[in-house]
């Protein structure tokens, strides 16, 4: 038993990694789709166990190939990684439930298993990025997740998915290369690639211009992946033309992992002093976050497609997260992390609703969604829940996020900022209400016969919608874990 649990950190990544080629052996799509769900839940179980192990402040270290730090690569799990592992693997597990049948729409007969294989590779990459304690290993796994997500996006039904994937590939590769340059400069000034070791050594090399530039390149590189305004251009197309399940999966995991990286590098490696006092990235990050909040939300109001609307809303939500970081306070980072968890739930739910709508209507154009409230009431109720969470209505997770974020802003005496966060959530109300009116108050063009999507779609949708309420009411879990994670990373970043 003990032996087994010692190896959990590596199993977290290796299980989906091995599962991906294993799909080639299983081949039959029905079998593969069930297998993916099992893998997803196995990952989820492991991540929960890891979180339980580290929640009290212990750090779990797993040396790969038994090479001690700094000679080898190590996995290193503190509360921050563990939280993200839980977010990524739980979202994967839930979204995978909706998997069966998805592949049939996008992929030639008999190759459906490859779709799941690619999804598992994305999961592998994301988990690998999150769990590792080695900066170069971050790059390698980031590329695994990126390449496989380009594939998944390209599988969208319209030809525009191809172009969306290509643009993302170019932007993403440039971003990853920027990160690689930044890592290189860090390595050059410290001589090590291990995060812990590098942190110690960076404290000595802190004041050099090379390190400043390294910081800039790392932040820009990650910002591309995170879709920080104005590096977000790839996101709307990527999310709106990819298969709906892929959007659900990526929207609730990929940007979250990028945010994790931003925190890990800024606070964990470069440290507070360098990031916020010497280079002062908040001077740039803060206004950009506010811009993202407003530009994203306003753009969302004018969209004519449901998924595209959600995509623009994601840009605004990323703004909330980066705003939390740029407050440069423990409470701010905690708020950002709370929002990572919460936003994964609500956006996941909403994109799954988009998947349901696609199943029924063949697309997600808003004018095709007229009167859908009567035609698929259960699905649309989930949409209302997710939408209200986006607005930040009390009783939903969105409220918890907003509460934490605004409190953090007010604690820093940033009253105007707190007010702006409130104001931007009103813009969310406008686009959410636009949806509600279309769905409930406009007459459908064709019949009102009631037909809900199959359970495999409806169940995960409602799991996430329900969780958006549950964790909005019993928010201790997210708030507690996020606060601990922020406290730990802050202590490390001092």
């Amino acid at each position: 038993m003990n032996d087994f649990s010692v190896h959990l950190p590596i199993l977290q990544v290796v299980i989906p990694l091995l599962a991906a080629p294993f799909c080639f052996i299983l081949r039959k799509e029905a079998v593969v789709s069930v297998f993916t769900v099992l893998v997803g839940f196995a990952c989820f179980a492991i991540s929960m166990d890891l979180l339980a192990q580290v929640i009290d402040g212990d750090v779990l270290v797993y040396e790969l190939g038994d090479w001690a730090r700094p000679w080898g690569i190590e996995y290193r799990i503190d509360i921050l990684n563990a939280l993200l592992l839980v977010v990524v693997s739980s979202m994967a597990a839930v979204v995978f439930i909706a998997g069966p049948g998805q592949a049939r729409r996008a992929i030639p007969e008999g190759r459906g298993y490859l779709f799941y294989s690619a999804a598992l590779l994305t999961l592998t990459g994301l988990l690998g990025v999150t769990i590792t304690g080695d900066v170069f290993n971050v790059f390698v796994f980031l590329e695994i997740s990126s390449l496989s997500s380009y594939i998944l996006i390209a599988l969208g039904r319209s030809r525009r998915a191809l172009m969306a994937a290509f643009s993302y590939l170019i932007m993403g590769t440039i971003g990853a290369t920027f990160l690689l340059i930044g890592i290189g400069l860090m390595y050059q000034m410290t001589g090590t690639l291990n995060m812990v070791d590098m942190t110690e050594r960076l404290r000595d090399a802190e004041q050099t211009r090379t390190i400043f530039v390294a910081l800039a390149f790392v932040v820009v590189g990650i910002s591309v992946k995170l879709a920080v305004f104005p590096l977000h251009q790839w996101l709307p197309n990527a999310y709106s033309f990819s298969p709906p399940l892929v959007s659900a999966f990526l929207a609730s995991t990929a940007t979250k992992v990028a945010y994790y990286l931003l925190i890990r590098f800024c606070l964990g490696l470069f440290g507070l002093t360098l990031v916020f006092e010497v280079v002062e990235i908040d001077v740039l990050l803060l206004p950009l976050s506010v811009m993202a909040m407003f530009v994203g939300s306003i753009a969302a109001i004018y969209q004519r497609d449901f998924k595209r609307l959600l995509a623009y809303s994601s840009i605004a939500q990323v703004g909330y997260m980066t705003l939390g970081l740029s407050l440069a306070s423990e409470a701010g980072v905690a708020a950002g992390l709370i929002h990572v968890f919460n936003h994964a739930l609500m956006k996941g739910a909403l994109f799954l609703v988009a998947a349901c709508v696609t199943w029924r209507m063949g697309g997600t154009r808003l004018d095709a969604m007229k009167g859908l409230g009567r035609r698929m009431p259960v699905t649309m109720a989930a949409m209302v829940v997710g939408g209200l969470a986006l607005v930040g209505v009390p009783g939903t997770v969105g409220f918890v996020s907003k509460w934490a974020l605004v409190s953090a802003a007010l604690e820093k005496d940033a009253y105007l900022l707190g007010f702006l966060v409130m104001a931007s959530s009103l813009l969310a109300l406008v686009y959410v209400w636009k949806l509600v009116e279309i769905v409930y108050f406009q007459e459908p063009e064709t019949g009102i016969e009631r037909r809900e999507p199959p359970l495999r779609l409806l169940v995960p949708t409602w799991i996430l919608a329900g969780a958006s309420i549950y964790f909005g009411v019993f928010s201790d879990f997210a708030v507690d874990v996020a606060s601990r994670a922020a406290a730990q990373i802050f202590a490390a970043g001092m």
Partner: protein, 195 residues
């Protein structure tokens, strides 16, 4: 001792390197301005070969070998293959986008600013050469037992990265089959479903 050899290299090395770099820069600019994609692809192959040369000059023989095989070889073949399936001439006029220039200039200036505090090129006392690397150089023989340190590090100390690298290849393979495999079936489906 080996003084002669060091002297010779210190003069010879930079000269050859400088020539290689000058050629590479020239090629890069030329590629940027060319409208014939076919020619650009060939020049790109040469560019990769030159970079392999430069890598050899910098003592990275393994990397140079791989770059020659993968960069100059496989990549060029891939590009040529893609050109065969698409088109070989850039049809649109080349426009110069202001933002692109701005971004590129900013990136370049940033990096140039970053070099100001860097250890000098080839400095044996640079932090990079002082911390982890010596351990590999001096202890890998006893710990692993392979004379090629690059191989030891690649296969053992940082073997997990290599594992990741293999996974990247797997990913690309999955992507290629998904996107390009079953071309006939795909085309049928596309024409069939063009509502």
């Amino acid at each position: 001792m080996t003084g002669d050899r060091v002297m010779g290299e210190s003069i010879m090395g930079p000269t050859v390197e400088i020539v290689l770099f000058v050629f590479m820069i020239g090629l890069a600019f030329y590629i940027a301005s060319l409208r014939s994609l076919f020619a650009a692809a060939m020049l790109f192959g040469i560019f990769s070969l030159l970079s392999a040369g430069a890598l050899t000059m910098m003592d990275a023989v393994d990397v140079a070998f791989t770059e020659a095989a993968v960069g100059a070889g496989i990549s060029t073949v891939l590009i040529l293959g893609a050109l065969g399936l698409t088109t070989s001439v850039e049809t649109r006029p080349i426009h110069h986008r202001f933002t692109a220039k701005l971004v590129v200039t900013a990136t370049g200036l940033m990096l140039a600013y970053g070099t100001l505090d860097m250890p000098a090129y080839g400095d044996p006392d640079a932090p990079i050469n002082k911390h982890v690397a010596p351990h590999y150089l001096y202890d890998s023989e006893t710990e692993i037992g392979i004379p090629n340190v690059v191989t030891s590090v690649l296969a053992s100390y940082r073997g997990y990265d290599t594992y990741g690298e293999t996974t990247v290849v797997l990913t690309a393979a999955v992507g290629a089959i998904l996107l390009l495999g079953g071309g006939v079936a795909r085309r049928r489906r596309e024409t069939g479903s063009s509502e």
